[in-house]
Symmetry: C2
Subunit: 137 residues, 2 copies
């Protein structure tokens, strides 16, 4: 069962300043360049360090390590080390982490649905700017 339902009464969530502050805190953690990509790489099950680095194109060792450490701190990711030679470390999402994938899915749905509208809005904005530049001559 990989299906989930959310019912949100909007008027009680994002419409107060405290709630927005809370969202901002979450975004400060997961809103960086790499975190969601790493979470995505882990969303199917346990993965090894190098496997993640191959999945998330362009991430450096430093950034991968830092990102994983932060996620582990917040209890979103669980780290398991096997003291073999060579060493082997597996990362996986905790329950908390899996639950995070749900709101991320909502964000994804929004992005998917409205991306054309955004592209369009940018085009119109650029057009409007060009007109203003003309008038200013």
């Amino acid at each position: 069962m990989s299906e989930t339902n959310i019912s949100v009464r909007v008027s009680e969530t994002a419409h107060n300043y405290q709630g927005c502050l809370l969202i901002a805190q979450v975004l400060a953690r997961i809103g960086d360049k790499w975190t969601v990509l790493v979470v995505g790489a882990l969303s199917r099950g346990p993965v090894r360090y190098n496997q993640i680095q191959r999945t998330v194109e362009g991430i450096s060792q430093r950034m991968l390590t830092l990102t994983l450490k932060r996620l582990e701190q917040d209890g979103i990711v669980k780290r398991t080390m096997f003291p073999t030679i060579p060493p082997r470390v597996e990362y996986e999402l905790t329950d908390l982490g899996h639950e995070l994938v749900v709101p991320l899915g909502a964000l994804h749905a929004w992005a998917l649905k409205y991306q054309p509208a955004i592209v369009d809005a940018r085009a119109r904005y650029a057009e409007k700017e060009r007109e203003n530049a003309k008038l200013a001559e």
Copy 2:
């Protein structure tokens, strides 16, 4: 009717790399320090420039202007100028912007539900670190 239902089939959204890239793009726009707070300030209806600045504590003029301009570019915010003296400018969410509040609400619900778990995870992580520091002496 300020109630909304989202049905997300998780397995089809965040589990592929392309989807994660799309989420990352959105987060690159709204995941900064101020954007969600500004969106929150606008979520009740049209607001004037100075009103926003009073609502969002600590934001500088520069950041408010930049944030609003980016949101306007993406079609999330609509700017209306009244050429009076002194000038008066109102900002309001577009339909696109109001729709964005929905996934933000999902994120808020997640944060609200699991914040205790996160605090707890950090405490345990810190505890574990202290033990490791002891063993290293």
